[in-house]
């Protein structure tokens, strides 16, 4: 499928078969070291100060004075700039990509106007401990985004302190723990229930907090097995952590039964809304009787992912759990915004200060620009795009949706290449590597691979039909190659920055190198 295709509505696309990622053959920053060069100057110390206090270091006890300078490279400013600009060109951000191949992560567009707000000194140059009268604007933004998310979820109060989805899960588990402890059942209730298609962090965080983790697997319809849940709950159940739709993209229509079963057993229910993008304005945590939920502002609410944070897991709770939230919360008395540290059962804190303000700011601006109808449009088009892509992928040889007995999918789909792998020996990882050659990213899926040879596509609302078609053309070509010339796919990528990497040294303590200094030491040892 080469050349420019014209569709019936005149939208066009072209599979970029001649794509090649930038390749600067860039050295490591230490290899740019030129003794004496400087990248930036430190503000000078006035003569009068130097005369008044001397060299500064003499006041430091001898054993605390660094004996030799850190062996950082010395590089002039433009070379540093060039180096990192080149590394940026070696990175395929969502802005360059039709970034639908990273399912569960909602790689949507982050509007550029919102970046201008983040760059304002009014956001960047404010300190969290300033007199509250001097940060009323910042507090207002936090308070109002809180109120928007209350409306979207039906919860009664939000905190933006968690620095990502996993940190929001940590708050949910901490609240569950504290709640059960205050009921006098902290010791007995030592189990958290989750599902295999909820994020790995739901299970991992529960374990950090000392819980035994019970993981529900799907029934043949792809829904978490409700019979297994009934068997799992007991006087040991502290709570449930669950996504919906799960990473399969299937909406769990029995979700209200799930929360009821757990509530009846004495547990609390926390809703991991990482997969909320298809549900904004459609259905809410409250109506499904959840006690808590969280949204990732870096997913559904358009804050960019920043190579993996800083981010925000915005955590909301129902009225009866507000007292358990991390401190402080932002309150408003009709006249003034203020920080409220007085929560009687607060779990404490999970991060310094009030969270990642830039993410809060972007999400606020984004909701303000979209409005209620806009958010619903986001959800509906995300679902439309997903179902369109699903239709097309099911037409690909060797590809299938997981749990085909259930046809409905919300905003993403977990697919399988099982048949293709059986037919050709080409694995899902091989395909992800080949897609790179057309300027795409494709991710396999979280482990464990309950669905064999998986991949997960989440088209979001951000990509045009022509772009979706282009991505599909990339998949189609790769599939064709897998059947005709499997080695071509297995040896990919060819058009990327680097060729197939050797993973073995990364798992060998004798060879792994997490820093340049470790690499040099081990190189030397190996010679």
């Amino acid at each position: 499928m080469s050349g420019r295709k014209t569709m019936e509505n005149n939208s066009t696309f072209k599979l970029r078969e001649k794509f090649h990622q930038a390749k600067w053959d860039e050295p490591i920053i230490f290899e740019l070291h030129t003794p004496g060069e400087k990248g930036v100057l430190v503000p000078e110390v006035e003569q009068e100060i130097q005369e008044a206090v001397g060299d500064g270091i003499s006041a430091i006890p001898e054993n605390m004075r660094r004996k030799s300078n850190p062996a950082l490279p010395e590089v002039s400013q433009m070379r540093v700039l060039k180096h990192f600009l080149r590394l940026s060109q070696h990175t395929l951000g969502a802005d360059f990509n039709i970034d639908i191949g990273q399912g569960t992560c909602t790689m949507k567009y982050s509007p550029k106007i919102n970046e201008t707000f983040v760059r304002s000194p009014k956001a960047a140059a404010i300190h969290p401990c300033q007199d509250q009268d001097t940060v009323q604007g910042a507090l207002e933004i936090i308070y109002k985004l809180d109120s928007f998310l209350q409306e979207i979820s039906g919860m009664d109060k939000f905190t933006f302190q968690p620095g990502g989805g996993a940190a929001a899960i940590l708050v949910m588990v901490s609240i569950i723990q504290k709640y059960q402890e205050l009921r006098g059942e902290g010791q007995e209730r030592d189990e958290i229930i989750t599902t295999i298609f909820s994020h790995p962090s739901d299970a991992a965080v529960a374990a950090v907090k000392g819980y035994k983790v019970i993981t529900l697997y799907p029934d043949d319809l792809g829904l978490p097995d409700i019979e297994a849940l009934k068997k799992a709950v007991s006087e040991k159940t502290a709570g449930l952590l669950i996504t919906n739709p799960e990473d399969t993209g299937i909406f769990n229509s029995k979700i209200q039964e799930f929360t009821k079963i757990v509530h009846d057993a004495g547990g609390l229910c926390g809703y991991d809304q990482a997969n909320a993008n298809g549900l904004l304005g459609i259905t809410r945590a409250k109506e499904a009787d959840f006690d808590m939920c969280f949204f990732n502002l870096h997913k559904s609410f358009s804050s960019p992912h920043g190579c993996g944070g800083p981010a925000t897991g915005a955590l909301g709770v129902c009225e009866s759990l507000i007292d358990y939230m991390p401190i402080p919360l932002v309150d408003f008395d009709g006249n003034k915004y203020s920080l409220n540290h007085n929560l009687s059962h607060s779990i404490g804190k999970v991060r310094g200060f009030y969270g990642v303000f830039p993410a809060v700011l972007r999400a606020y601006a984004w909701v303000m620009s979209m409005g209620a109808e806009g958010l619903k449009e986001v959800a509906e088009v995300a679902v439309l795009n997903n179902n369109y892509v699903m239709k097309k992928i099911q037409e690909l040889k060797g590809a299938a949706i997981s749990y085909p007995k259930t046809q409905g999918r919300i905003e993403q789909v977990r697919y399988t290449w099982e048949k293709l792998t059986e037919d050709t020996g080409v694995s899902t990882e091989d395909i992800t590597n080949r897609m790179v050659d057309f300027g795409f990213h494709l991710w396999s899926s979280h482990h464990p691979w309950v669905v064999p040879q998986p991949f997960t596509i989440e088209p979001t609302e951000s990509y045009s039909k022509a772009e979706l078609d282009e991505y599909l053309a990339g998949l189609e070509k790769t599939v064709r190659e897998a059947y005709e010339d499997p080695d071509k796919v297995k040896n990919a990528p060819y058009q990327s920055v680097s060729h197939k990497i050797d993973h073995h040294p990364l798992d060998d303590p004798e060879k792994w190198a997490v820093t340049w200094r470790a690499y040099l030491k081990k190189q030397k040892k190996g010679e």
Partner: protein
């Protein structure tokens, strides 16, 4: 196809009605509504969300945001002496130039092929931090210092198999809250006293609390209250003799001139990189680091991503990837080490740029500048009648406690008056350390000028009333 007058959204290409129709047709359904068939009727939200009317144009949105922003006063408009975990430092323009690049800003979870640059720049960040810390392993940043300290403690618990951590009681109360929540109920957190005169760790109290249950000791240097702990090696030796680890929190901006904790026996070092080229963002610019020696026993206990360098099929080509990925929760869910997810990677990229710009001399000059300016500030402030600075009889870096008890003025009142003079006074410690009485934590960095500090001195002198300078 002319029925609709529906709004088309610039961020939603397929909001164009004709395209929607065409896609629905290809899917084989009538309406988008049909795609939600699996959501039970009673769970459908029937109302329209009660949100403000949209500000659809960029212009309208900007007007709105600007109006809110006028309610913020910044540390550029005022002279700020606030620190306490979030710092006002020079942010080189190149740092923002790089972290605002679309490539980095909007990247996420690409493979080492299409995201080679993300892997390399974070490997370089780890490497540059490794030099500053004099350690061979540094993680891809976690959320912040508090999380880094919490994880360092949990690593110590797993490495030693012991369930109690000793923590110096001179620590940010906020950070302590994070640690306590993260440790509960698996690790018991026990506080160690400080010497009231110097602030340093009370070694007798430490000794009395060390036991076969002790996984490690956690202290900070410079401390939360700015003084420098000189007993690092003794503390580490005492811990080691007892089979426990020494965990040290450190401000990386001090390491151009102060001895890195690895050189006084620290096994795990942690801290925050916000001061390395990242704006304050109302406390949102934090990023946590954890560092250790290259010991398999330690490396395998990190929950974080560790990006390592490797070879490719092409001779001489650098490749990158995850070191020991199987230890992570991505690979092993609850069987992995703690958890990993979206943390603070872009802060790492930025701090890497910062350290590359600064070089060894820049970091030395930064440290020296902070020392000289903070010592000058101490000299000026302590000359004011009734004011004691620093409160602790120790040498300090960047921050120090100013004791106003003898003036009879509450910090709250002093700071209100300073605000009138265009100054954000030091952080009020009266709720964090009520036993100190009227004390404030002042922070002086390389951005302060003599004029700024003199203005502070003159303003305090005036506010504190008769007597003035001694």
């Amino acid at each position: 196809m002319k029925k609709q007058e529906k709004k088309v959204y610039p961020y939603i290409p397929n909001s164009v009605p004709e395209i929607k129709e065409q896609m629905l047709k290809e899917i084989g359904v009538q309406r988008i509504e049909d795609l939600y068939a699996d959501i039970p009727e009673n769970l459908r939200y029937k109302n329209k969300l009660n949100l403000p009317p949209p500000l659809s144009s960029e212009y309208a949105l900007k007007r709105h945001m600007d109006a809110i922003f006028t309610k913020n006063k910044t540390c550029e408009e005022y002279i700020s002496f606030l620190g306490g975990g979030c710092y006002n430092h020079q942010v080189p323009a190149i740092c923002d130039e790089i972290n605002q690049r679309s490539e980095f800003l909007t990247a996420y979870a690409g493979e080492p092929y299409e995201d080679h640059g993300r892997f390399q720049s974070l490997f370089e960040y780890e490497s540059l931090m490794g030099e500053l810390l004099d350690m061979d392993v540094v993680n891809v940043p976690t959320y912040d210092w508090s999380q880094a300290a919490s994880t360092a403690i949990r690593m110590a618990e797993r490495i030693t198999g012991r369930k109690e951590i000793l923590v110096s009681n001179i620590i940010s109360p906020d950070r302590l809250m994070v640690i306590k929540n993260y440790c509960h109920p698996v690790v018991n957190v026990r506080m160690v006293k400080h010497c009231p005169e110097t602030g340093k760790l009370d070694l007798d109290d430490f000794k009395s609390k060390l036991s076969k249950n002790t996984a490690g000791i956690y202290f900070e240097n410079p401390s939360y209250l700015g003084f420098i702990e000189v007993q690092g090696q003794t503390i580490a030796d005492m811990a080691h003799e007892n089979g426990a680890l020494s965990i040290v929190g450190v401000d990386p901006t001090s390491l151009g001139i102060l001895t890195p904790p690895s050189q006084y026996g620290a096994d795990i070092v942690c801290g925050d990189i916000q001061g390395l080229g990242i704006h304050m963002f109302f406390g949102g610019g934090l990023g946590g680091f954890i560092a250790t020696h290259d010991d398999e026993k330690f490396v395998m206990e990190y929950p974080s991503r560790l990006f390592g360098i490797t070879t490719t099929t092409v001779e001489g080509e650098y490749g990158f990837g995850d070191v020991a990925y199987e230890r992570t929760s991505f690979a092993e869910r609850e069987e992995g080490k703690e958890f990993v997810g979206t943390h603070s990677a872009l802060c790492g990229v930025t701090a890497g740029v910062y350290l590359a710009l600064m070089g060894p001399e820049g970091m030395q000059e930064l440290g020296t500048s902070i020392l000289q300016k903070s010592q000058y500030a101490l000299k000026q402030i302590s000359a004011i009648k009734g004011v004691k600075a620093p409160m602790f009889d120790s040498s300090h870096f960047k921050e120090f406690v100013v004791d106003f008890n003898k003036t009879g003025h509450k910090i709250k009142d002093i700071n209100k008056a300073l605000l009138e003079k265009g100054i954000f006074g030091g952080m009020d410690l009266s709720s964090e350390f009520p036993e100190f009485g009227y004390c404030a934590l002042y922070c002086v960095t390389e951005v302060h000028t003599k004029k700024d500090i003199d203005h502070l001195r003159d303003s305090l002198t005036e506010i504190l009333g008769e007597g003035g300078q001694e």
